[in-house]
């Protein structure tokens, strides 16, 4: 048993830190909140070879493990760097599994794909569902029409604007879910976005499909892609928790009140240790997700849902604690803490939301 990072993983992480810190800039994110363009780092992603991380070598990718991809997302999350990997990577696992023609372009990053995320059936809810535009009821997944085209609406699709290809689920007349790939340039495809300027590092779009031509991808498992997305979002959230903790601890050592550094007070100290506790829990479950993806696939749905839950809650807590640690100043526009808060608030509600991943943890175990 060895859960330490391998030398290759250490190298991957260090390379990622180096490359990402060249583009990381909180000031740019604040400007983007006020209308400036969202920072685009796809060029860097392609150049670093990250686009093909999860694509097999046969299809032109690097064929690394899911945990390697999670390590990269941790580093991106630490610095709140925007990327389009949350949409692209799960999509490429489906392209790769079906050996979709032109997968190599997506592995190289000359083209970009987005995952049209659909939640698989569970122990209670038996249908494939997608994000609704508003409200707590989930929407039906798009329909695969008899003529092979796809129709339907999917809201809040991560990284959809500007993507070349959408990869997701459509349900045919017999109720069977099929994995489909849809060129965004095709007729009947409309992507509204970027929508929602709340977390300016995040790229979201609302997708409308009206008899859009689609290719059915045989051999691809769209449920697995959903959980890949959950695991990646967990990793990205975990990275943000790391920064929130580091920054808060530093401040708590330096800031004095009533003659003592604030970090010497139990309320502050215990709150910071609570971030640590939740962070450690999240990392442990992320290990589970990474390990089960390849070595215990029947537990991957559980592990990825648990990772999303643990990391999401950890970020919820850490982002608030970061503001509280910094007192009034932590809630001001110029401070960086609000950027982490915005990240936590929006992430909590994407890809089914944390409530859904938590429900799935229960559902997977109840059905076992």
């Amino acid at each position: 048993m060895n859960l330490e990072l391998t030398d290759e993983q250490q190298a991957l992480r260090e390379a990622a830190t180096g490359a990402l810190s060249r583009v990381a800039d909180y000031e740019v994110l604040r400007d983007a909140l006020e209308g400036a363009a969202r920072p685009e780092n796809w060029g860097l992603v392609a150049e670093q070879g990250w686009a093909g991380l999860l694509v097999s070598e046969a299809n032109g990718g690097a064929e690394l493990s899911l945990f390697d991809a999670m390590l990269l997302l941790i580093e991106a999350g630490k610095l709140l760097v925007s990327h389009e990997l949350l949409g692209h990577l799960p999509a490429t696992t489906l392209l790769d599994a079906a050996s979709y023609p032109g997968t190599a372009d997506y592995a190289e990053g000359t083209k970009r794909a987005a995952f049209l995320a659909a939640r698989p059936p569970g122990d209670v809810e038996t249908a494939w569902t997608v994000e609704a535009r508003s409200g707590s009821a989930r929407a039906a997944a798009p329909t695969l029409n008899a003529d092979g085209t796809v129709s339907g609406e999917v809201a809040w699709v991560v990284d959809a604007p500007g993507a070349d290809l959408l990869v997701g689920v459509a349900v045919d007349g017999s109720g069977t879910a099929k994995t489909v790939a849809i060129e965004t340039g095709a007729s009947g495809v409309s992507i509204e976005g970027p929508v929602l300027r709340y977390d300016s590092s995040r790229l979201l779009g609302n997708v409308s499909l009206s008899n859009a031509p689609a290719t059915v991808l045989e051999g691809a498992d769209p449920a697995r892609a959903w959980y890949v997305a959950q695991a990646l979002l967990a990793a990205e959230s975990y990275g943000a928790v790391e920064t929130a903790l580091t920054v808060s601890v530093e401040y708590a050592k330096e800031r004095y009140t009533f003659g003592r550094p604030i970090g010497s007070y139990q309320a502050m100290k215990h709150g910071l240790v609570e971030i640590l506790r939740q962070r450690e829990n999240a990392y442990a479950v992320m290990l589970y997700a990474g390990w089960s993806y390849e070595d215990k696939p029947e537990e991957f749905a559980l592990a990825a849902s648990a990772a999303r839950t643990a990391a999401g809650h950890a970020l919820d807590y850490a982002a608030r604690q970061q503001i509280a640690t910094h007192g009034g100043i932590g809630a001001t526009w110029e401070h960086d803490a609000p950027l982490f808060f915005r990240r936590s608030q929006l992430s909590r509600r994407l890809l089914g939301g944390i409530g859904d991943s938590t429900d799935r943890v229960a559902g997977e175990l109840l059905a076992a």
Binding site: S134, W156, G259
Partner: protein
């Protein structure tokens, strides 16, 4: 136990209601006004309310007030809310700073400042907090030095100042003696906000709006008679303001617009959510806390009308309000989804602003310390700053050694 008006109160309520009925057409429509026009319009309306006896309800009659009790103040608040017109603009001045001047000001200060404050001719702001003196208010560093002619020169920085951008005067806590322990070398001043050397800068919050200001003082000249409550007595004078602040909070928790009906409506509109046991459980808990807040403010009022002054535990109402509203924001955004975070959403501002409110007005931690010690009688934290001259404090702090 009786929540209803006495006959006298009912009569007063009718009188207030009648005045409002007659004058409400004169009230400004704040939503319809441009940003620049809102403040002048609300100042003018405050003046009308004062003429009608609806401002300074609890102020003594000799200073233009009505000399009435807190229940009458609440009756006025309730009737103003029911009439759908704005209340007074200068809540801080009339609720906290004016009463402090009445308690500690000289006769000249009272006759000069109280009238224009009451009528909205001069708005006031409170200049206490500093970047390094928030919950530890006695750590203020803004320094006022007395000149040979008795006047003062003031240098320093204040922060979290509401209304500074249009205030005529501020009540400012400054250090006038650094060679005595920190609570002892403080003095309170009246500061004309248009004085040379004052710079005001809006402080944008996480939500994107400038709720507060930073105010910088660069060698600002103050007259000898700017002192309120005596040189070196600033801490005691500040406590008076804080007591009136607590009273305002104790009475006004529902005034933030955080109430059970509003939050429930947001959930009720979602047919799926309103039947979801998990959503209902969270909503039930939030609403229970908000109902508690409402009846706690009635309790405070009842105690006040019996002549009692609310203790520090009244601050728990703020803790509960902020907690319930944060929980409500989370719930509503969980129900609505990312759309709730959109700039145009009714909820985005509340969700983003509240985390900061937890730290405003003395952090929750300090409040819990105070209540634990003063209400429950628990022993205090060891203090490393007791009896140490302010000027030596920082070096001792840096050593981290007990004094």
């Amino acid at each position: 136990m009786d929540l209803n008006d006495t006959p006298e109160q009912a009569q007063y309520r009718a009188q207030v209601r009648a005045w409002l009925e007659e004058h409400k057409s004169e009230a400004p429509d704040v939503e319809a006004l441009s940003e620049d026009d809102v403040v002048p319009a609300r100042r003018a309306w405050q003046g009308k309310l004062a003429e009608g006896g609806l401002a300074g309800v609890t102020w003594p009659q000799e200073f233009g007030g009505q000399g009435k009790g807190p229940i009458e103040q609440v009756i006025v608040n309730q009737e103003i809310a029911a009439a759908g017109v704005p209340g007074i603009l200068d809540v801080i001045g009339l609720g906290m700073l004016g009463p402090c001047l009445i308690a500690h000001g000289t006769d000249e200060q009272k006759s000069r400042y109280l009238g224009p404050m009451l009528h909205g001719d001069e708005v006031w702001c409170q200049l206490f907090s500093e970047p390094a003196a928030g919950s530890d208010l006695a750590a203020v560093q803004a320094k006022a030095t007395q000149q040979d002619d008795g006047t003062w020169r003031l240098t320093g920085q204040k922060v979290w100042t509401t209304n500074a951008q249009f205030a005529s005067y501020g009540l400012l806590l400054a250090r006038t003696d650094a060679d005595v322990p920190k609570h002892k070398g403080l003095t309170m001043f009246v500061v004309p906000m248009d004085a040379d050397g004052i710079t005001i800068r809006g402080l944008r919050q996480i939500s994107g709006e400038a709720e507060f200001n930073e105010v910088f003082f660069d060698d600002v000249a103050l007259d000898a008679d700017a002192v309120v409550g005596g040189v070196g007595n600033g801490w005691g004078t500040a406590l008076t303001v804080l007591m009136f602040e607590r009273l305002t909070i104790g009475l006004g928790a529902e005034g933030f617009g955080y109430n059970a009906a509003r939050f429930t409506k947001a959930v009720a509109q979602d047919e799926h959510a309103r039947r979801d046991p998990e959503v209902r459980q969270r909503l039930g808990e939030i609403n229970t806390e908000l109902l508690a807040i409402r009846f706690q403010s009635y309790r405070v009022l009842s105690a006040l009308s019996q002549g009692a002054i609310p203790g520090p535990e009244a601050g728990l109402a703020k803790v509960t309000t902020v907690k319930a509203a944060i929980d409500a924001g989370e719930l509503i955004a969980d129900v609505i989804g990312p759309d709730a975070l959109d700039e145009d959403s009714e909820w985005a501002y509340m969700i983003s602003f509240l985390p900061g409110l937890k730290s405003a007005g003395g952090t929750e931690e300090i409040l819990r310390n105070t209540i634990g010690e003063r209400v429950l009688g628990l022993p205090p934290e060891p203090r490393l700053d007791k009896g140490v001259p302010f000027s030596e404090l920082r070096s001792i702090e840096k050593q981290g050694a007990p004094a």
